[in-house]
């Protein structure tokens, strides 16, 4: 279990993360959603101890996480937003380095590397140098590297950033299969559909603060599961309704271009975070 208490990070006068409180239960797949600059990566960086909090603490199974906490760090693995690995190493070397950092035996490293490369479709490329890999392959390699050490907690910071639609779908399949491994996962993303498809709960973060934390379906239910869209002076206007009947009733009084559809998590995000952003 991960507990975040009053987590705060400031850079000079700028507060990137502002007194966050959150508990992520064991085996939960939690999504952290927010616009660019909302504080998602800063939060993950503090959880990976690259950044130290200005205030507050992070507990892993009740014990404080810091740079000296080897036992707690043993449970963690991170896939960072940037390709954080030696660009001059081969894929096999990246995996061996990771295994060694986690005290794995050489035989175990080889077996695990073969298994994970098979799982991610990278088996043919073990001797390829990281610098020469495509963005999608680098992302897959980072996931393999993170899983290499059989973590209990996986932190994923924008794992599909920069991927095309097909590669994103492949990555989703891979992430879904991680759910079955009973990992505790924290995913940051600004692809809302990704969070809706994968996460048990999501937290909206904006300006370093949490706006809301709940299950995607519960958030959709609160807004209204049926949406009616129409154009008003060239601007898209969406209204939300608790029942299909209420939505159809609304539709009757609108022009022909109005449509009825299911509400998505993106609608919730736009309503809660987007409107505030638009208002500045």
């Amino acid at each position: 279990m991960i507990e975040i208490h009053n987590l705060t990070k400031t850079f000079g006068d700028f507060t990137a993360v502002d007194h966050l409180n959150l508990t992520i239960e064991t085996n939960e797949f939690m999504g952290l959603l927010g616009p660019n600059g909302a504080g998602k990566t800063t939060t993950i960086s503090m959880m990976s101890t690259v950044l130290l909090p200005t205030e507050g603490e992070i507990l892993i199974d009740g014990k404080p996480l810091n740079r000296k906490a080897s036992a707690e760090k043993r449970k963690l693995s991170v896939v960072t937003q940037e390709y954080s690995m030696r660009q001059d190493m081969t894929m096999n070397e990246v995996m061996e380095y990771q295994g060694r950092l986690y005290y794995m035996r050489k035989k175990e490293i080889r077996a695990k590397t073969a298994e994970l490369f098979e799982f991610a479709g990278l088996s043919k490329f073990g001797h390829r140098v990281v610098r020469h890999l495509s963005g999608g392959m680098k992302r897959k390699l980072m996931i393999c590297r993170a899983l290499m050490v059989e973590p209990e907690i996986l932190l994923l910071d924008e794992p599909t950033a920069g991927m095309d639609a097909l590669a994103r779908r492949q990555m989703w399949d891979l992430l879904r299969s991680l759910k079955e491994r009973n990992l505790t996962i924290l995913l940051t993303t600004h692809f809302i559909d990704e969070a809706q498809a994968l996460c048990n709960r999501v937290a909206f973060i904006d300006g370093g603060k949490f706006d809301v934390v709940d299950a995607p379906l519960a958030l959709i239910e609160q807004l209204g599961p049926f949406a009616v869209d129409n154009l008003d002076d060239g601007k898209l206007v969406s209204r939300y309704f608790p029942t299909r009947e209420a939505a159809i009733e609304e539709l009757k009084g609108l022009p022909d271009d109005a449509v009825l559809r299911a509400t998505t998590l993106e609608d919730v995000f736009v309503e809660r975070v987007g409107h505030r952003l638009t208002r500045g």
């Binding site: 690259v50 043993r74 991170v78 954080s84 950092l101």
Partner: protein, 243 residues
């Protein structure tokens, strides 16, 4: 265990870049030897200048080899590749990572020393290089690896690494007992330059090469630098808020 992991990483890098590392270790010392030692043939303290120059260049090479093996690499890993994040989140104790960098850097310095000794071996001199000189050179390598680790934590961009080289390593190469004795320097500057680690190393390696012994003061000065910069490196990796 973590120390071995870093040494493995350095070994992988050494194997991969063997030719580049070897050629880089040879070029500038070879130029100095050719220009100052063989081109401008002269004497120093009544002896062939080469007897003065070779120990100085060997000491200098242990400095440059160790420093460059760590500074560029660590700065790029921390600021550009972000590969340091992989180490930070791992259970490997961070002090072991620092010690691995220091030992790995010193070993690279020793490799550069061996390359130069091999190159000067055809030159007939009465110079002696024994296990004591190698220990002093290794100690010097650890000092400069530690300085490189410290500076890499201070670097704000990966272009800072070559700047540190210009501000620190190049002046030391020329001033610290490599090409001429610090005895010839004006009062005040002489004391300052003599207290720098390379001056002490050159002095001790030169003394051993001439059949003498290293000085206790020289060894203590090198250890003092090692302890101070190691403490700063440990403080940075454990306490620096934004790595």
């Amino acid at each position: 265990m973590g120390i071995i992991t870093v040494l493995w990483e350095k070994w992988a890098e050494f194997k991969r870049d063997f030719y580049k590392i070897t050629v880089a270790a040879m070029i500038s010392p070879l130029m100095y030897l050719l220009v100052f030692g063989l081109g401008i043939q002269t004497t120093s303290h009544g002896e062939p200048y080469l007897n003065f120059l070779i120990p100085g260049i060997v000491a200098m090479v242990s400095m440059t080899g160790s420093f460059s093996a760590v500074s560029q690499n660590m700065s790029v890993q921390r600021l550009y590749e972000k590969a340091l994040d992989q180490v930070m989140v791992s259970p490997t104790p961070l002090w072991q990572f620092i010690v691995g960098q220091i030992v790995g850097g010193a070993l690279r310095g020793m490799y550069a020393v061996l390359v130069i000794l091999l190159l000067v071996s055809p030159i007939r001199t009465s110079l002696v290089f024994n296990w004591v000189s190698f220990l002093i050179l290794f100690l010097n390598g650890t000092v400069f690896s530690t300085i490189a680790v410290t500076l890499s934590f201070l670097a704000k961009s990966y272009t800072d690494a070559p700047r540190f080289n210009t501000y620190i390593i190049m002046p030391m190469s020329f001033l610290c007992n490599t090409f001429f004795s610090t005895d010839q320097m004006p009062h005040g500057i002489k004391e300052f330059v003599s207290a720098l680690p390379l001056s002490q190393t050159s002095d001790m390696v030169r003394s051993i090469a001439a059949g003498g012994d290293p000085t206790v003061t020289g060894v203590l000065i090198l250890f003092a630098y090692l302890i101070v910069f190691s403490a700063i490196s440990f403080m940075f990796i454990y306490k620096k808020k934004n790595l």
